[in-house]
């Protein structure tokens, strides 16, 4: 159905599933990272102390050997010992004899060298940057000592790394969320089309979406198939019933005619009434069958070029004839020479039903106004009455067969409400759409839009 959805309050703005998934993934990842790094940082002091202890032990163990080798004049030997120690502990160190740095491995700041050891034991200091300085004096020469610098245990995260990690997380979350929501978006589009009236939609196989979504898609297709079947069988039932009703009704009408000929005069008004009602039934059956046939039609059989302006003219003159008898008028307000491709008879019927509907609801003494205008590539046929209009919520409903918009209104006009349903189907078959709207200043405006022939 091509009528606009209106009048329903919109639900409050909701975050999309994608946004929520994306946010959830990103949040969890960032939170976990932050927590782990915070925990790591909290153990930093202990690990720092352990490290100092470790390097101190190593220095106490191997330092004296290097100092002894220096005393013996074997500086090369001392360097080898210290190199081995440095490789093991990551210490930067220097062996100092008085003012001379005999062996130097890495950068050792002057401030460290300036430390005066307490006695001949290993002295350690930790500065404000968490560096630990260690001084191991020689047991023999008081001026000779090893000064070492232990670099602090690294903090687990640095600012740049955090930013990079968050970016990577965001990117991964984005793709993950998209991967998960894509089949749902697909299902949603399909559902939307079904809601619009196209029950031929099938989702089919959903690749790489997991068992649950694939199952949902399969169930969805089964459900749609069932809806399609139900709709089709509903139409078929209406059609078959109408078809079957025709023969008995035809007999009834002829029998009534015979009864009339033989009836006493006081029965005649009653028989007139029965005749009128059977005629109404016959008309209704005809309309139902027209509609059913249209619904089944997939394509126009032999489309020709139809001059819509000529059609509108002849339609207006026919309708005026009927309307004037009831003190209403039909006038063509605007008109352009425009053609469409289609079935002239069907197009005529589609337009006629709209005009008739308008005439039916037009109050006495008013005009039904017809406009035929080109709108971009299309042509619009607008029919407006000055009647009571239709409640906003029921605007789309009037194109459904046998929909009662307003009990009182329908009863007063004897409307069975199938003409506009036929219009809608005929227009759809021509690749067009039909919309109803309440006009400014009251009354209903029905707009038929069809692709025009250039």
């Amino acid at each position: 159905m091509s009528a606009p959805v209106s009048g329903k309050p919109r639900p409050p703005k909701q975050w999309s599933l994608f946004t929520r998934m994306f946010a959830a993934f990103a949040l969890v990842t960032v939170a976990t990272t932050t927590f782990v790094s915070a925990y790591w940082d909290s153990t930093l002091a202990r690990r720092q102390a352990q490290r100092v202890l470790l390097v101190s032990d190593a220095l106490r163990l191997h330092g004296p050997e290097a100092l002894a080798l220096h005393d013996e004049g074997d500086d090369e030997g001392a360097r080898r010992v210290l190199d081995a120690l440095a490789a093991e502990t990551d210490l930067r160190m220097t062996l100092i004899d008085g003012e001379t740095r005999v062996v130097s491995i890495g950068e050792v700041p002057e401030a460290a060298i300036a430390i005066v050891p307490e006695g001949d034991a290993l002295t350690t200091r930790t500065n404000e940057r968490d560096q630990t300085w260690l001084v191991l004096p020689s047991e023999r020469a008081s001026d000779t000592r090893i000064v070492a610098v232990a670099t602090p245990v690294q903090r687990s995260l640095r600012e740049l790394r955090i930013v990079l990690l968050i970016l990577a997380t965001a990117l991964a979350s984005f793709f993950l969320a998209r991967l998960l929501t894509r089949p749902i978006v697909m299902l949603r589009k399909a559902t939307h089309r079904i809601a619009e009236g196209d029950t031929s939609v099938r989702v089919g196989e959903v690749a790489g979406a997991g068992e649950e979504i694939a199952g949902l898609a399969a169930d969805f297709d089964r459900m749609t198939e069932r809806i399609e079947d139900l709709l089709a069988s509903r139409e078929a039932l209406l059609r078959d019933v109408s078809h079957e009703l025709r023969s008995p009704l035809a007999r009834l009408q002829v029998a009534l005619g015979i009864a009339r000929k033989r009836a006493a005069p006081d029965l005649v008004p009653l028989l007139d009434r029965m005749e009128r009602e059977t005629e109404r039934l016959g008309e209704l059956i005809g309309l139902v069958l027209s509609m059913a046939r249209l619904e089944q039609a997939k394509d126009l059989t032999a489309p020709t070029e139809v001059r819509l302006d000529e059609l509108v003219d002849s339609l207006a003159s026919d309708a005026s004839f009927e309307a004037e008898a009831r003190d209403r008028a039909v006038s063509v307000r605007k008109k352009e020479p425009i053609s469409v491709r289609g079935d002239a008879e069907l197009l005529r019927q589609a337009a006629e039903n709209v005009v008739r509907n308008a005439v039916r609801f037009a109050p006495a003494g008013t005009d039904v106004e017809i406009e035929l205008v080109r709108v971009a590539e299309d042509v619009e046929l607008r029919v407006r009455d000055h009647g009571p209009g239709v409640p906003e919520t029921a605007l789309a409903e009037i194109f459904r067969p046998f929909t009662r918009v307003d009990e009182a209104r329908d009863r007063a006009s004897g409307g069975a409400g199938i003409g506009l349903a036929i219009t809608e189907r005929a227009v759809r078959l021509h690749g067009g759409s039909v919309i109803a709207a309440n006009a400014d200043g009251g009354g209903l405006r029905v707009t038929i839009r069809l692709p025009a022939v250039a």
């Binding site: 025709r246 002829v254 015979i258 000929k261 016959g282 059956i285 002849s314 026919d318």
Partner: protein, 232 residues
């Protein structure tokens, strides 16, 4: 009292056919019944009937089939009973040479009225007048009910003949669709009835297969038979 010869009613609904027969009998018509297409066609070809009432939905051969076969040899007036709600059917019937149609279910009074209208047209045939109407190269013999164009006979149905007669009599003047309906079909045109237009279109094709338009449409009003440009 019977009027205007026997009518053949071809309808497979036996009960309906006998009811119609009753009704029309009381209206003064004489009715013969046939219940399938083959029998119907055979009887129609016998030439014993003044008119044929032909249902579309028939066993063995459908109504269109029967009409097509019948039109090869006969110009007997045919009224088609089309299924209501089948708008295509009624047009197709007229295009194939039916004189009129009635959607089923119908009011029997309407059927009787249509049959009388057809009878009146055919009845004119037996009139004494020996009138010849000539416009341009088209000559219509009212008495013999023949039409010739440039000496060559054109076969028309009774409806088409009456239509042409009306248009030729008013050649050069506009004839409204309502007048045509009342004169030719014997009834008032209900709104949106395309019968007149279909008959006109059939007549145009028969008069001028090449497409030259002698009968012009006057939008919103009716039709006019164009006077030849240089009168002969």
């Amino acid at each position: 009292m019977t009027i205007g010869g026997r009518i053949l009613l071809v309808d497979d609904d036996v009960e309906l056919a006998s009811l119609i027969s009753d009704y029309l009998g009381s209206e003064g018509f004489e009715i013969e019944l046939a219940h399938d297409g083959e029998t119907g066609l055979a009887r129609a070809r016998s030439g014993e009937h003044a008119m044929i009432v032909l249902d579309v939905m028939l066993p063995k051969r459908n109504g269109f089939d029967v009409l097509r076969a019948l039109r090869e040899t006969s110009r007997v007036p045919v009224l088609m009973l089309t299924a209501r709600g089948d708008d295509v059917d009624r047009i197709v019937g007229l295009e194939m040479g039916a004189d009129d149609y009635l959607g089923k279910p119908f009011n029997p009074r309407e059927l009787a009225a249509r049959l009388r209208a057809i009878q009146r047209r055919v009845g004119a045939q037996h009139g004494p007048q020996r009138e010849l109407i000539e416009v341009g190269e088209v000559a219509l013999d009212v008495g013999a009910r023949t039409v010739r164009r440039a000496g060559k006979e054109i076969v028309l149905t009774t409806a088409e003949f009456s239509l042409l007669e009306l248009l030729l009599r008013s050649a050069g003047r506009v004839v409204s669709r309502d007048t045509i309906a009342e004169t030719v079909l014997g009834r008032r045109l209900s709104a949106f009835d395309r019968s007149v237009d279909v008959h006109v279109s059939n007549l145009r094709k028969k008069l001028d297969p090449s497409g030259g338009d002698r009968i012009k449409t006057v939008r919103g009003t009716g039709y006019v038979y164009a006077m030849p440009e240089s009168p002969t």
